[in-house]
Symmetry: C2
Subunit: 395 residues, 2 copies
């Protein structure tokens, strides 16, 4: 039967990553396609104790409905943690708990975007954000970046000339897909321009704490004097993604609007999971846990970079990320990463072709590679397999 | 600062229930305002064993990302359970797990509704559905019901004359807010009309299993020969709401579309919670648990009805629900339930004024009363307090 869906459904197609991930279920394949954290680092033993304690101490409350904004102690823990690490000055009422930061992206689209409104984003940008915003039938304007971050002159030109811009979406720390970060100077310059044009900014920050440097960079939110920055956070990469607990940090009046959206979207995020993560932070040292993650991912980053250095043909360029989960590879302009992927799958290695990360098309010579979800041996072997295909590439 | 939100935000206001619930945090107040299940019946001890087992058997998988459609064993358990109890013939690929059925309502709006599309619904209907659909800027046409269910002649007249109808939304079992149910005959007649006009039907079924009769009624989905019915289910009222686990049962091609929506909305529902509910059903007898719930709620329904019978003034009418969590009260046409509520709050009892359940306004002489979340003593005392206010009511 022919179905009569909403017109927005024309913008929504299956994520290419999802399709690739289906193929990568095959055991012999080494996959750099997903964005999965290393499961061997999840604190399973600790979570056993945590879940027992939550049920013992507050079982019937934890299994009941709760408030839309989220479990108050968790919201406070998040605010305090951000203030301590990232230079913000957030209070309880500036935090809304959400079901993973993907939900925050969807709620943001719902809150801000009418049809044909414009979202300004980095080029390339996170696929999940593109899909979330596209559901609200917006347009995208992409801004190039250099080694310091988003090109501020280009940004100002766009803000000056386009009246339909509703949001600027950025990932200043260890971006997905490129692995690049913004300098402090660039963050300040960015906020200066944003203040001038008073456009809301979505600062998506899943990776900021997964840094291989000595310190965490201050958030854009830390420089936000006009309450324009909405920062999205998540426990997915620093603890575990399976519980789907993330948050939105924004001015009180914006959070009040997000609460309205959240209420009609799913009433509230899992009460028991919120209490479990709160209890985990009470009983254990999350920072200590993140140190372990950073150590493992840094080693894997080193192995990946080393293998790219020695094995990749000279015409390939790649990011050396200083944190996060991804490196980004660019071939010669004529290279088709879709064709490379096909060859790679035959050779037992997978990645995500980069063009999905360009909302307006392009990027056919680019790849995203994830290094957090493979063992050291798999990493080296997988990058070698990829190098072999690249060396033999002929278009 | 003035913010520039999406135009849909003009349709979204704080739920009146939410505001009332804030007031009802006061301890001395007896509240019939929420729709909360009885927390003393939650299987806390069982969930301790369940969560331990899930973490022991599959800890690192349970804490990892999972598929958008949901945990396969749980989807199968749900399909089998529905087939066994409600006359459906569903398979694995016809079930999508969602974060509570509120999310299914939101996803349904997103999937089907363009601005100014029409949703046909019962008069009155569930507030959460009104809010979820309103976010997509639709209109509502309400259809009256009699003791057997929705007025089929009125329904056909509407379907015949309006080309913008995208969905019919109904709760045939123990409706929220009225507590009323549809007869089998009416269900069949309804499907006949729906088949004729080929309009998708959302059958919201949170309460069907919480029946005080001897048997569960067959779902509309059981009579659905043209794959038009989309049935929403949830564990919130038969197990616990705090985990936010619900589901959508629909034709495979519709589920494929819901998967696209779900993916951009929040990637997937909590992996660990899905596994916990699946494990609970494996280790324990959910039916046995529901028997306990039914017994307690039936006793409370009896107490509520008895007290209304003996204490309410003659000009009040009310539903005697044969299942579910709510009774529905109507006063004389001139009565203002908002004024009654104000007096009631002074007298230590709360409820929800009915007009929120009428998407196009009206119903100012109606009330929704929840009987699942008060002890027996509170129930009788609360209904007496309400009766006292009603007796003294003077407009």
């Amino acid at each position: 039967m022919e179905r009569n869906y909403a017109s927005r459904m024309e913008n929504m197609r299956t994520s290419e990553i999802r399709e690739i991930l289906k193929v990568t279920q095959r055991k012999e394949l080494i996959s750099f396609a997903g964005g999965l954290p290393a499961p061997e680092l999840f604190p399973v033993e600790e979570m056993k104790i945590v879940s027992k304690k939550v049920l013992e101490e507050s079982g019937s409350q934890a299994l009941q409905y709760t408030t839309t904004e989220g479990f108050e102690p968790l919201r406070l823990q998040i605010a305090n943690r951000m203030n301590e690490k990232s230079g913000t000055k957030l209070g309880l009422e500036e935090i809304q708990i959400v079901s993973g930061s993907q939900q925050a992206l969807d709620m943001t689209g719902k809150l801000f975007l009418d049809e044909d409104d414009v979202v300004v984003c980095e080029k390339p940008t996170y696929l999940g954000a593109i899909n979330a915003f596209k559901a609200y039938c917006c347009k995208f304007i992409e801004v190039e970046s250099d080694e310091e971050g988003m090109d501020i002159i280009a940004l100002e030109k766009i803000l000056k000339s386009n009246g339909k811009i509703k949001l600027i979406y950025v990932i200043p720390d260890f971006q997905n897909p490129t692995g690049k970060s913004w300098s402090i100077e660039r963050r300040k310059d960015f906020i200066e321009i944003v203040n001038k044009y008073e456009v809301p900014v979505i600062e998506d920050n899943p990776y900021g704490e997964v840094t291989f440097r000595n310190e965490i960079m201050p958030l854009l939110k830390a420089f936000d004097t006009k309450e324009l920055v909405i920062t999205l956070g998540t426990f997915s990469k620093i603890l575990c993604p399976g519980m789907r607990i993330g948050w939105i940090a924004a001015a009180k009046d914006i959070i009040q609007k997000y609460i309205l959206i959240k209420q009609s979207s799913d009433l509230h995020t899992s009460n028991i999971s919120q209490r479990e993560i709160s209890k985990y932070m009470e009983l254990y040292d999350l920072d200590e846990h993140i140190e372990i993650i950073k150590k493992v991912y840094k080693r894997r980053r080193d192995l990946a970079v080393e293998t790219m250095k020695t094995e990749f043909p000279d015409f390939m360029r790649y990011t050396i990320p200083e944190g996060g989960l991804f490196t980004w590879v660019e071939g010669p302009e004529t290279m088709d990463s879709g064709k490379v992927l096909k060859k790679c799958l035959e050779n037992g290695v997978a990645f995500v072709p980069g063009h999905s990360f360009f909302p307006n098309g392009g990027g056919h010579n680019t790849f995203r590679l994830n290094y957090s979800n493979a063992t050291d041996c798999q990493l080296v072997e997988g990058f070698k397999r990829l190098a072999k295909v690249l060396k033999e590439y002929d278009d």
